[in-house]
């Protein structure tokens, strides 16, 4: 376990990445607007080997991270400014991003997952929002995109089965995108001076016990899929044990898909070797 104030982690961490090439762990700290990088074998109250934080970094609420081991870059999804920031892998301190993707053309809103495919030179972002015209789905950019650019493709719509999503993973060997479709319901944001202004006093807001559609882990292809397309593979149902999966990763070597579930407060591993061929 890695914990304690010297780690510069927070109790609110919704993203994580592992860099196998350099044996490092990368995690965002949204509460301190930072990204912290640990050695792979870190334990206890161990300080990060590098920390990206500061005004030049452009970080405001980093939620999700990915590492491109081929091109030596770290990608950060920051919904606080609705942008993607790209840093040198070894960036440290108040480092400027190499590139930023941001603006109305990007369709970036509540960014909750990010993954990079150095083989096909693609960047995939999961985003959601209830805002009018907002996309709840996957945005696929060119890996080196910068500025206010339109995504190359958007995977979203009723056929996807996604009503809300979180972390994504991507296997560069196959181009498959693994998506944690948590699919629980929304709460409106809280304004401390006017809590939920305009809502009827009789309204019952949802809770995890009383929520939307059943969540799942879905699989799409980063190169071919576009528009309102169903997943090519899915992990869903009572036998799976998962209800609202909030994260996903994989162990390609053993053909395993791994997903935590917030309702059960647990971690589930599924054997799906066909997805890694």
């Amino acid at each position: 376990m890695i914990q304690g104030q010297s780690t510069h982690l927070s109790r609110t961490t919704h993203g994580i990445a592992y860099d196998a090439t350099h044996d490092e762990i990368i995690a965002p700290n949204p509460l301190a607007a930072a990204v912290v990088i640990f050695r792979g074998g870190a334990a206890g109250e161990e300080a990060p080997v590098r920390t990206i934080q500061g005004a030049r970094s452009g970080l405001s609420r980093p939620e999700t991270v990915a590492v491109d081991e081929t091109n030596d870059e770290i990608f950060v999804g920051d919904p606080g400014d609705r942008r993607v920031l790209v840093y040198r892998r070894d960036a440290d301190g108040d480092a400027r991003p190499l590139r930023t993707i941001q603006g109305d053309k990007t369709k970036l809103l509540q960014i909750v997952g990010i993954a990079v495919d150095p083989v096909r030179n693609l960047l995939v972002v999961s985003t959601y929002s209830r805002l009018a015209g907002g996309v709840t789905g996957l945005l696929i950019f060119r890996r080196t995109d910068s500025g206010n650019v339109e995504p190359q493709r958007v995977i979203a719509g009723p056929k996807t089965g996604i009503t809300r999503l979180r972390q994504i993973g991507l296997d560069p060997a196959t181009g498959r995108i693994f998506v944690a479709a948590i699919n629980n319901e929304y709460l409106p944001p809280y304004d401390v001076d006017k809590p939920r202004a305009g809502l009827s006093p009789d309204l019952e807001l949802p809770s995890p016990w009383n929520t939307g559609s059943e969540g799942f882990v879905g699989v799409w292809n980063d190169e071919g899929d576009d528009g309102d397309v169903p997943p090519h593979s899915i992990i869903k149902g009572r036998s799976t044990g998962i209800v609202h999966p909030a994260g996903v990763t994989f162990n390609a070597k053993d053909g395993e898909v791994i997903a935590p579930d917030a309702v059960w407060n647990g971690l589930f591993t599924f054997l799906k070797p066909e997805l890694f061929r």
Partner: protein, 447 residues
């Protein structure tokens, strides 16, 4: 959640198949079925005892073998509704917040893992306890509104039980004194996202909640409900709050104590959001004219103390912080108003720190309870009553009771277990992300 980064190896075995009720089970039925299955199945629960390493190695081998056999035999289930080959689910409660009600002679704790409230007699437990203590009340189920729960309190004058959810549910729930089971709260109050601690202000008939991200605490009338707004809040750069957790109101001295982890973002970087939506970005708020100079920072963990009448961007009366203080990710705080002492559940180094109530600056604690004999592991809640210290452990399936003057590496007077001795906790607190360390074959789970 203790929030931290947890590394879990492949330490469970075999194929897990959960038996769910036929038909269209409710989430409650699924939850209960899974909890019972996990509790009763020796080959299901990962939360083992001392044989973990050996079992983990054996299980890794079994898993690899099972995967290989499946590949060769072509028997892999390619349908969507397939059982997991492994799961890490802790079937037992994990204690978080703690409150001692001397009038009712009882202690109440929140359970983040199984999502419940547990009430025990105040004198429950024993020094040699090896088996779980039966609560005299447990409130749990879909009607309760209890989820990723944190702070708790009992108002004995009004016969009410309070619990606040830290994440996801974004609500405070209030129950009648004798509620149990899948009870609907007598009232609920929607609260800011990431509310964590709760404190009762008996003099003003109010409740105060600490809120992590906005670095603030908010005060409501005790009987506030639904969409009622706070009557006041303390927030702003002069408050010194940074990722606050525990909160305690000292009625005797008219002060509010707040425990801060030290993660800080200025107000300019804070946008209104919930666990579910970010309605507002900085661009929307400022029309792309926002300053790019605002930055996050790490400040030392601290305990800040305010006048109980404070509101707005009020500076603390006192701050305890610094290397001498040993404060490290403080969670719960409590004041012994009769003996003028402050108690801190020091999550970062598995200790309880005791300071004079009026301590300020970079000062040493007067007593520290820490060490292997204490059993303190991931302390979240602390309470003081009747010359005893109650500690809610998140890193172990226990709550511990010490003498008020305990110090050093001392054993607790009593242990209240919520699982058989030796059962490990998962350490999970609402896991929302995961990564795989292919070098060590470990799964990384931030919390």
């Amino acid at each position: 959640m203790r929030r931290s980064l947890i590394v879990t190896g492949a330490c469970i075995a075999g194929i897990v198949f959960l038996t769910a009720p036929r038909g269209a089970p409710s989430m409650e039925q699924l939850f209960v079925a899974q909890t019972h299955a996990a509790a009763e199945s020796e080959n299901l629960c990962l939360m083992g005892g001392d044989d973990r390493e050996a079992r983990g190695q054996a299980q890794q081998g079994q898993n690899a073998a099972a995967a290989q056999a499946a590949r060769l035999a072509g028997t892999v289930d390619t349908s969507s509704d397939l059982p997991p080959v492994r799961m890490v689910v802790d079937p037992y409660p994990s204690f978080n917040g703690v409150f001692v009600d001397t009038a009712g002679d009882r202690v109440m704790m929140s359970d983040t893992n199984r999502k419940s409230l547990l009430v025990y007699p105040r004198t429950a437990g024993s020094a040699a306890a090896k088996t779980p203590e039966s609560p005299r009340q447990q409130i749990m189920g879909p009607a309760t509104g209890i989820g990723f729960i944190a702070g708790v309190a009992i108002d004995s004058a009004h016969h009410e039980l309070f619990a606040v959810n830290n994440d996801v549910e974004d609500r405070l729930v209030v129950f009648d004194d004798d509620a149990r089971g899948n009870a609907k709260p007598k009232r609920l109050l929607y609260v800011p996202h990431q509310s964590w601690g709760i404190a009762l202000d008996r003099r003003r008939d109010e409740i105060a909640l600490s809120v992590q991200t906005p670095n603030m605490y908010v005060v409501f009338k005790r009987d506030a409900q639904k969409f009622d707004a706070p009557v006041r809040s303390v927030r702003g750069p002069h408050t010194g709050m940074a990722d606050p957790h525990g909160i305690y109101i000292d009625d005797t001295h008219n002060e509010v104590f707040v425990a801060n982890h030290g993660n800080y973002r200025p107000a300019e970087l804070i946008t209104s959001y919930t666990a579910y939506d970010a309605r507002e970005s900085r661009q929307e708020r400022t029309g792309n004219a926002f300053s790019e100079t605002a930055r996050g920072s790490f400040v030392a963990s601290s305990v800040t103390v305010y006048d109980a009448d404070a509101k707005g961007d009020a500076a603390p009366r006192r701050t305890i912080s610094g290397a001498l203080s040993r404060i490290d990710w403080p969670m719960g705080v409590a004041v012994d108003e009769a003996h003028d002492e402050l108690f801190v559940a020091n999550n970062g180094d598995n200790s309880i720190l005791v300071f004079p109530r009026t301590a300020a600056g970079n000062v040493q604690p007067t007593r520290v309870i820490r060490g292997g004999a204490t059993g303190i592991k991931g302390p979240m809640g602390v309470a003081v009553a009747k010359d005893e210290i109650f500690v809610a452990n998140f890193g172990d399936h226990t709550a511990l009771v010490f003498s008020r003057l305990a110090a050093g590496n001392v054993a607790p007077k009593r242990i209240i277990r919520n699982a058989p001795a030796g059962k490990e906790t998962s350490g999970f607190g609402n896991p929302y992300a995961v990564a795989y360390d292919s070098k060590r074959q470990e799964i990384l789970v931030p919390n």
